[in-house]
Point group: C3
Chain length 267, copies 3
């Protein structure tokens, strides 16, 4: 799976983003750092043209710009039309009725290949009660494997729940990643950037779940590596990009903590 | 007052921003660095839902997006409706009629708890002649105490004028902060970030003016500390966030230059 | 020409940007680093007021926000009305019909002083076949002098094609800059930032082409200098701003590789 790091640099996929205004620059730089090409658009006029030439499409509802709500849906449907892998980041889906409504509409009208959120977002999408504040997650560290797998089955796609332990499932297999550092929560956009990374790997992977695992791993592992000397938060962000740019298979082999998990109980 | 640094980390307030597209990422990261949670929205659909769960509301008219002008007003009124502390950053209010009109409308329809601007913006709001270029301030270093106090009285809120010396008044007390470095003017958004900091402290402070003083101090003091080795501007920005993240009471006690000022002449 | 570095700091021109959401912060910080003042607006209401007081106007169609398409045109026409130097960055003009249409409209209704793009964008504007992906350039290192000069003649303005070698022409003279580093392509916005730099120098230069050469040089040279110790990408971006902020005539004299070129064949 670590071979995807080389492959993304060879293929240099064009990752089209319909995303929020807060983390858009960092998402573009993340995509570049890993070896893909970002493209961001806020235009209805070019959806068809631009989705057609993209390698994958990222839809991130982060700032919920009123004039973009229909654009997210149109972009998702166009991605399906052209068989482009499409990934959803339902930022703060639990926070407001407007976010819930938009996410429902997206899930009903678009077939997503991957959905990535924090554990609160994924739980909400799965229909469970959710504790979360604003767009941030309530993460008590309990095992999210069951809910992630169930949501993946229900929505027939790969689901990623970022958290203390990241959990990824396609409804069958479950991967857990235990890399990371709490410091990642003190810079904005690490979730969005993970989504951009998954969008970068999706056009390169034979199995969608491999792309989701790699995208998630890159953020968590590079966060961990960036934090080795316990830098303060400005320096930490700089080093996070440093680590992403130089990450290779050897480093993943040495430090990556990916586990193919078994559910103890199956319903 | 320095205890607010600990309190904001305990309370972790949700600071809702209706803000500009230039400094939005830095404002989010500032809010996180100080221990609060940022939330940015550009959506009419979720105003009521989202203001209701926020701890404070920041309104910053920086890039004057046409489609957001009504949103700023709606957000401010909704903040009043739910008794959420609300703070205005009237970026470049003197620069165009559209900015003046919007600020007038906001001041007429919304009761603000704090207004923060550079000295040119505050002077303009106070009805005086203003020298300023674009959205930047003309600051000749002369004492702004009188005008800041008068504007605070007139608008019945706390007013902050950032400058060589920062001046904060609630119409009664006047604080002056003489920390800082000219280098802060060579990165975009330090004013906006101060406003986000005030928004972070407001839900934690018993006296509004304390939140305004602390938010202003954090930016000026961390700028001063970040500049100790005279780094160039890219490194300076990194260090500014480093300093904000690690700032504590001891450092404030040691380096903070806050003065409770007396007006020499009262009219 | 290097004297412009000092002059921009003396004049401190107000560089008004109508630009994209991805690189807007970096463009503002670039403008500040070089000694000018950035101003970004997304408002129809203030175009006339704000163009009138600006020193130059930058139009960058990067994210093609639907609601801004008319604003770009209005801003350009208003810049012409007030005789303000105006510069176009036709990001990804070849990528979609909507981008081509907008650029055509801009070129037909606005008289630009400078157009800056990557070689693919400039070739497309010149009516040639283009290889490019998304908004990135296909640059095989072949000499772009002829096409740049022809486009400059055709559009009666200064044209800049950024690439391995940067080429700048006013339809008569041709300058080539061979500073730079491939690493510049791994952070988003270096093209946009070059455009902002040109916008910063335009109000300070007697010859428009000098402003275009200097703006282009600053980015390529500072990229080269920032890369001296081969930092990874996060550190590289920090150093890029460090270098821009401290760049002076001596450094340009020592490291700048500007060549006034001759076309071997003239048609």
């Amino acid at each position: 799976m670590y071979k995807l790091l080389k492959k993304v640099k060879e293929i240099n996929p064009l990752v089209l983003h319909y995303t929020n205004n807060v983390t858009i620059t960092d998402c573009a730089n993340t995509t570049l750092a890993i070896g893909a090409s970002p493209l961001m658009s806020f235009s209805y006029e070019e959806v068809d043209d631009i989705v057609k030439v993209s390698s994958s499409v990222v839809i991130n509802i982060g700032t919920m710009n009123s004039e973009l709500l229909d654009l997210y849906v149109l972009a998702g449907k166009t991605a399906n039309k052209y068989n482009k892998p499409v990934i959803l980041d339902p930022v703060g889906v639990f926070a407001t009725k407007a976010r819930t409504d938009l996410t429902n509409k997206l899930l009903n009208e678009v077939k997503f290949d991957v959905i990535r959120g924090n554990i609160s977002e994924i739980q909400f999408i799965g229909g469970l009660d959710v504790k979360g504040k604003g767009v941030d997650s309530f993460d008590d560290g309990s095992d999210a494997s069951f809910i992630v797998k169930e949501v993946a089955k229900k929505l027939e796609c790969v689901v990623v729940a970022s958290g203390k332990t990241d959990v990824i499932s396609d409804g069958d297999k479950i991967y857990k990643i235990s890399n990371g550092t709490p410091k990642l929560k003190f810079i904005t956009g690490t979730g969005c950037m993970s989504t951009s990374l998954i969008g970068s790997f999706l056009p390169c992977a034979e199995e969608k779940i491999d792309a989701a695992v790699m995208g998630t791993l890159v953020m968590s592992l590079c966060g961990e590596l960036a934090n080795r000397e316990n830098p303060s938060i400005g320096s930490f962000k700089t080093r996070l990009f440093d680590e992403m740019f130089i990450l290779n298979e050897d480093t993943c082999n040495k430090y990556g903590k990916i586990e193919l998990a078994q559910l103890k109980f199956s319903l």
